[in-house]
């Protein structure tokens, strides 16, 4: 059985705490926009996700991946592949959105900027990875 060291506990709390903080930020933003109740719902959803991840992280390896604390190198690779898949889906969504907007005679915003940010980020990390070995 895995011993839950202090470092692992901090790692496993990172995602739940982030989810709760994000929920609080969403609540504040929606409240500022005049939708206090909608913000409360957003907070509840994100807080529930954080609690779910925290509970799962002590019960399964997949839960630990979701909590940002993969148990070993294979799960880290799975996590990386899942993140890469998310990036691919988002890029396809951005390209689709850009083409849709252009086809309707609009500028392509905000997809143009999103695509530029994604492309430059990718380029930056490739160069960073090359320089850093």
């Amino acid at each position: 059985m895995t011993t839950l060291g202090e470092t692992n506990m901090v790692r496993r709390l990172a995602v739940p705490i982030t989810a709760v903080l994000l929920g609080a930020a969403a609540w504040a933003a929606q409240a500022l926009g005049g939708d206090f109740l909608g913000g409360a719902v957003s907070f509840a959803i994100l807080a529930a996700y954080g609690i779910l991840v925290l509970v799962l992280s002590s019960r399964s390896d997949v839960g630990r991946v979701l909590a940002g604390d993969p148990p070993d190198e294979r799960y880290r690779a799975i996590d990386m592949r899942a993140l890469a898949a998310v990036g691919l889906v988002l890029i396809l969504y951005v390209i689709g959105g850009f083409l849709w907007e252009q086809a309707h005679g609009r500028s392509g915003a905000p997809f143009t900027l999103m695509g530029a940010v994604a492309g430059l980020t990718y380029l930056g990390f490739v160069i960073y990875g090359r320089l850093g070995g």
Binding site: D61, P71, D72, E73, R74, Y75, A77
Partner: protein
């Protein structure tokens, strides 16, 4: 021994004898996993050749079995070893 570059086939899972050496030592997958500080599922994935371990883990396994790493893992089991 002929040098065979493997850089063009890094995505291919390597053959290995982890299950054989583990059985010889009388260990369960869970016990080997605990010794290697990985999950039991990862040991299972290595044994069924669905996952190729990192170099540090491959070396750790070979050292644990007290065998050369190329005896535990083989990228080209079909080739003539004396060629």
């Amino acid at each position: 021994m002929t040098f065979v570059p493997v850089s063009s086939k890094l995505d291919i899972a390597m053959k290995n004898r982890v299950a054989e050496f583990r059985s010889t030592k009388g260990l369960t997958q869970a016990q080997l996993a605990a010794a290697m500080n990985v999950s039991r599922q990862t040991i299972n994935s290595i044994e069924t050749e669905r996952y190729t371990p990192s170099l540090p883990l491959a070396i750790a396994l070979a050292r644990y079995f007290e065998r050369p790493v190329e005896e535990v893992f083989d990228d080209n089991p079909g080739r003539d070893e004396h060629g």
